[in-house]
Symmetry: C2
Amino acid sequence: MLRDRIRCQPLLDKLCTADEAAALIQDGMTIGMSGFTRAGEAKAVPLALAERARKQPLKITLITGASLGNDLDKTLTDAHVLARRLPFQSDPGLRRAINAGEVMFIDQHLSETVEQLRTRQIPPVDIAVVEAVAITEHGGIVPTTSIGNSASFAILAEKIIVELNLSQPTTLEGLHDVYIPSRRPARMPIPVVTPESRVGLPYIPVPPEKIAAIVVSEKHDSSSSILPPDDETRAIAGHLKALLLEEVRQGRMGYDLLPLQAGIGTIANAVLHGFLDSPFHDLKMYSEVLQDSTFELMDAGKLTFASASSITLSSEMYRKVLPRLAEYKHHLVLRPQEISNHPEVIRRLGIICINTALEFDIYGNVNSTHVGGTHMMNGIGGSGDFARNGYLSIFVTKSLAKNGAISSVVPMVSHVDHTEHDTDIFVTEQGLADLRGLAPRERAISIIRNCAHPDYREQLEDYYARAVKRGGHTPHILEEALSWHQALKETGTMRR
Amino acid sequence: MLRDRIRCQPLLDKLCTADEAAALIQDGMTIGMSGFTRAGEAKAVPLALAERARKQPLKITLITGASLGNDLDKTLTDAHVLARRLPFQSDPGLRRAINAGEVMFIDQHLSETVEQLRTRQIPPVDIAVVEAVAITEHGGIVPTTSIGNSASFAILAEKIIVELNLSQPTTLEGLHDVYIPSRRPARMPIPVVTPESRVGLPYIPVPPEKIAAIVVSEKHDSSSSILPPDDETRAIAGHLKALLLEEVRQGRMGYDLLPLQAGIGTIANAVLHGFLDSPFHDLKMYSEVLQDSTFELMDAGKLTFASASSITLSSEMYRKVLPRLAEYKHHLVLRPQEISNHPEVIRRLGIICINTALEFDIYGNVNSTHVGGTHMMNGIGGSGDFARNGYLSIFVTKSLAKNGAISSVVPMVSHVDHTEHDTDIFVTEQGLADLRGLAPRERAISIIRNCAHPDYREQLEDYYARAVKRGGHTPHILEEALSWHQALKETGTMRR
């Protein structure tokens, strides 16, 4: 069985325990680990590393694709292993440490990390730890349910630790398309011209001698914990479908639309789920994560192809999809996140980008990351890669949070991740604001009228009316602009 | 003479006066006019239009490349012609009208306007008014000192008015490279792979029958009004040269660096001027505007090639350059602003991007547009196109403004145009903060220490120290974050 998965004979000598592999990791090193939105992360070595750190303290810089599953960020945080962490995370324990200033977190556009590594603008990766489903006869590493930054980590690192995960089905082989942009100043265009374009190799090409250790594991990916659609997410999906139908009616696209991207999480998943009941057909995705809705749409014959950097499903959907992977494989491709999120490709294909906002303001600026303007939630992830360059930059959220104590529409966001220049459409369960071609004063009126919850509409209108009296292209009352967030902190509600 | 410039014989019949041409423009129309940073704008027709509007009121949506010269935005504003204006302007009179809410201004990334026009996401251009140096025998329009959005305006408009400017030298012919991205969903890569790449036509291809009027003019472009380098801009240039030398020393690039972009204005021009006295050589520019410093560097043998969308010079430099244009031509190319500023090309080439900030905050967010968070100055222009996708995103400014009443480094910017995710390096005359790989708490320390003026350093340190006590990934005191701007308004200074 192992020989089927490790086809490069000499590498069989590299088999070792997770503890032995983890021993290669030294204090102060930069480690690049596979894993993107709880999919395909190395599982055994980080655990062994945390175990060792409890006896023998050590600190590393940990770079991944995106968030890790199996509570690994929590375990590593609890063992005080993380000095620095980039480019994304979503763990409550790590979040606490970041907000306490104990872990230095660099919150980056997901497409950018390997650009900085490749040019050594940030310290180089000493060791790459990559989960694989197999190693080819020439040492090529076949990733599992995500690629993330793994290919560049492996190519750039001094040494590679492979975690061969026997629970990941070998049918994953052939799913991946590993393309690395050529070095500047002779970089050529990335030849991806449709979501289906295959332009690279189905494995990560590395010299076998760089593989320093191979650890066998059998642990499953964590399943996603998205909530089922509810009335509000159904309403959001409804508004969005109406918008896209109008785009079709205006002749801007056909019923096959343009390639779709949807951020991770309950709302974006619910929005795509809503497309099941729509006149759209022959849809394609060019996204970063494939969630349950992707496979629902494929099963329903609505979606013909999906490109992404990872697959993250609910446990129920895993049980359905994994046994039938060979069937789905011809309709799927996994790419390095640099390519799934590449500005060049996103602009070329004209993606319809659907991402979730934590809050947005009356002028269309979006906060995706910071609670109360100061405390990190997860990170910007790929939302900026897509929102900046997409055909349509759509942000969705429910108009209220915390049982109505929080309005998702505020006078001024407390932290800006996406500026007014980068956003086109806002959707809440209340309705949709289409900001294309509108000036700030027009945007404010549209957002308040269409997106704000009725409980806060008057309060927003009052702010805006008083701000306009002071004048300006983007009217604001500076001493009051962030007062809603202060009120929430002091009184427990944004309500006046 | 006219026959040399209008080589498509039947078009000679279209010669008319500016008044006759302006009569084609009707109330409510969307007009696309040439002009980018005071270069190559149509000069006679807008004046005639303003004249007519004084007797017979009319309103239009005016789209240009960027800012217009010859006070045209002022004249059109004074005649109340402008209902809407995009994507950039820099006129004090228009600015006043925008901030009073009289003109709806849409402040866009310069690369994006024609994407929205092409897909009819914003209302279509009824008439294009394009300054030309000649019309080819098949009706191709040869632009003058800028291309901006003129090519797409002409291609997409119902009708075209050509302003044949006899004062623009015919040696401009051959300078331009007009490439229009193919339509989605079959868009191909943009084949620009070096600043020198020529991938299109030296004229704007249009069916001659779309040319509805040809007006002859002889008015010159406005000259730029940049100030000469001073001690502070020299210090900024010095810090930046030291940074780039270190990049070379680290092996990240050679002495030819990577292609340079510099925003318009005194500081960016002075920074490039500083490269005259540097060990760098065989430099290239991939920028949006070529200023005096471009030609100084070429004359000094430092710069071998420059690509941009316009040429805007001081009157002195115009007198030097225009007679020798035939010599420079082999080292220059002018492109549509969609291509000069295209995310795909900027990312591919790995541009070193130098843009001016109005203010920036201790975490590296930049305000490029709004005075006091509310009042529009000029617009974001191309700074976002470059900063998001460049190899190095550098922002420069003097640490003080208004004789020290304003600190350019503030706790929180009053408006965000470039987020912390998009900025790498900040430079003032005080020094340079290199934020690559740094978390917000580290960024704050570096920015305060290296960039803030000593007069404000303690005040910033005090803010930051108290903010840190409240915790968070990005520590802030929300009720105080914008208080510096309020203090300026109320007391005339940010000084405590």
